[in-house]
């Protein structure tokens, strides 16, 4: 069963295209990692699939229903963690209570269960202002888990966590997915987070899906051709190749993914009188390559 089905999603901020024809599917019990550098469109994508932003084009289906036509019906089965946001003048327990009341689902036992799960029950009566960032992230996770969601959406949940905290979070996510059948979509710019626990990884850059598949394939070593020039490359010249994910472009660096199109690319550069400083062949996994570029 598909929990999330997004088809050709396009989102613009003014004239700037933030997401371009993004199509993603998440199945029941699956952990999907959404990876991309800052500004890739990860948060925008998450806000679109939770109805906080309205896309210009495309369809979003949650649990088989159109998101915007059945908002009240589908949203109650979603747990969301965006940037942790709390009322500083309330205690951790009060923060969770008011969200449960908002969901018309008030149950103190459930709050206790979730707070114990994230390890915050002992400090439930402390004000959120006294919490460390890691504790706030865990409280954010508790907020997302309170309504027993079938689909958990987490935006950069590992940010600010120490390595032990990251491992604990990963263990909890795997537990929820394997034992409770919760589908999880979580965004991160940490390559290792997704490789280890995700069933599927989606690589997003500049609003375009570069890769959608199993992490093993993404880290499999392949040959890439890296072309260096003394001038910036023009995006429009390689529009077709970029759209088809054959090629990446960053300033004066071109990364060609398919050997078959290398001659064609070189011809285009020759026609445009662009000097080539160097052509290098690099063996790397897609994620590794992206990660280097992303930095």
């Amino acid at each position: 069963m598909e929990v999330l089905s997004v088809e050709n999603l396009t989102k613009k901020y003014g004239k700037k295209v933030v997401l371009c024809n993004v199509s993603i599917k998440v199945s029941k019990g699956e952990i999907v990692g959404l990876v991309g550098p800052n500004g890739a469109g990860k948060t925008t994508f998450i806000k679109c699939i939770t109805g906080l932003l309205r896309p210009e084009e495309g369809s979003i289906k949650l649990f088989g229903y159109d998101l915007f036509q059945n908002y009240g019906r589908v949203i109650k089965d979603i747990g969301l963690l965006l940037e942790p946001a709390f009322y500083d003048y309330l205690t951790a327990l009060e923060n969770l209570k008011i969200l449960m009341i908002a969901s018309n689902n008030y149950n103190l036992k459930k709050i206790q269960e979730v707070m114990e799960f994230v390890g915050l029950w002992e400090v439930r009566n402390k004000y959120v202002t006294t919490f460390s960032f890691g504790m706030k992230q865990r409280l954010g996770l508790a907020q997302a888990l309170m309504s027993d969601p079938q689909f958990l959406i987490l935006d950069e949940p590992t940010i600010g966590l120490d390595p032990i905290g990251v491992n604990e979070l990963k263990e909890k996510l795997v537990y929820l997915s394997k034992n409770k059948g919760v589908s999880i979509l979580f965004s991160s710019h940490q390559l290792l987070d997704v490789e280890e626990i995700c069933d599927k990884v989606i690589l997003l850059r500049e609003g375009v899906v570069l890769y959608d598949g199993v992490p093993k394939e993404a880290v499999k070593q392949k040959e890439y051709y890296i072309i260096l020039s003394n001038k910036k490359f023009d995006k429009n010249t390689f529009e077709h190749e970029i759209m088809n994910n054959y090629l990446d472009l960053r300033d004066n660096v071109l990364i060609v993914r398919k050997q078959e199109i290398l001659n064609n690319i070189l011809k285009k550069l020759y026609d445009q009188n662009i000097d080539i400083l160097d052509i290098d062949i690099k063996k790397a996994g897609l994620l590794e390559l992206f990660y280097i570029e992303g930095q």
Partner: protein, 262 residues
């Protein structure tokens, strides 16, 4: 509980848990008590002249004093901007929005909670005024020792009109909050009050200015009979209500389709 009731309860709970709300309420209660004490001790700090006053007149004079200092305007601008712009900036509002199918209910419950807090403030200022009157002012030379006194209705119109004036200010601040952050919203709302106060001085347009419509001291003496005054008060409440409705409708329409980027 229905969605609207739930969100109203949440907003009210949050507001009364806030320290700024608590301290502002305490100041509101403290002012009539302080004035009463100064009058009782015939302190040089306070000069009282004119007619003697009843308990209700004293309480409303205290309310008028706080209003003249723009106390209620300032605190309700701050409460409103942090409730709307603050929650939008921090991201708290997103968490509520993904728990409701109807955004309008969330915004209406926030408005209702703020109006409830406004009523609570007015109630406590007047109650504190009445209590201070009987503790400190009873049987002194400025007091009539009556509860209502003469022409008490003229006095009661002031808080009534102020409720509509501050409600309009809450609506305007709420609308501004959808476009600006807390800091800018506060500045713009305060700027708007100053602008309205300046425009009150212009004869041709002052009758359209909300702060003038709500200021019974500026036009109340023109009307000699209680009936004439009542009609004028109702008329001005009507105008203020129209302003409130327009700003509220614009806000609701915009917010129901608004993109939550933060």
């Amino acid at each position: 509980m229905k969605a609207m009731e739930r969100f109203y309860y949440i907003e009210l709970y949050k507001l009364f848990k806030r320290k700024d709300v608590f301290w502002s309420l305490l100041i509101s209660i403290f002012v009539p008590l302080l004035f009463g004490l100064l009058a009782k001790t015939e302190s040089d700090i306070l000069t009282i002249s004119g007619e003697k006053f009843s308990a209700i007149q004293y309480a409303i004079m205290m309310f008028g004093f706080l209003k003249t200092l723009f106390f209620f305007c300032f605190i309700f601008i701050i409460f409103t901007s942090s409730t709307f712009a603050g929650e939008l900036e921090k991201g708290n509002l997103s968490l509520l929005l993904v728990r409701s199918e109807n955004r309008v209910k969330i915004i209406l419950s926030k408005v209702l909670a703020l109006l409830t807090v406004l009523m609570v403030f007015i109630f406590f200022v007047i109650l504190s005024g009445i209590i201070s009157y009987y503790i400190f002012l009873y049987n002194i030379k400025f007091a009539t020792n009556e509860f209502l006194g003469k022409e008490y209705l003229r006095f009661l119109y002031m808080p009534l009109l102020s409720i509509f004036e501050i409600a309009l200010l809450i609506m305007i601040t709420m609308l501004l909050s959808l476009f600006f952050g807390v800091y800018k919203t506060n500045l713009l709302s305060i700027g708007l009050i100053i602008l309205m106060k300046v425009l009150e001085k212009v004869d041709k347009i002052k009758v359209f200015i909300p702060t003038y419509l709500a200021d019974i001291n500026a036009w109340g003496n023109i009307y000699k009979t209680e009936h004439e005054l009542l009609i004028k008060v109702m008329q001005n409440i009507g105008f203020l209500s129209i302003y409130i409705a327009i700003v509220l409708i614009v806000t609701l329409c915009y917010f129901s389709k608004m993109e939550i980027k933060n």
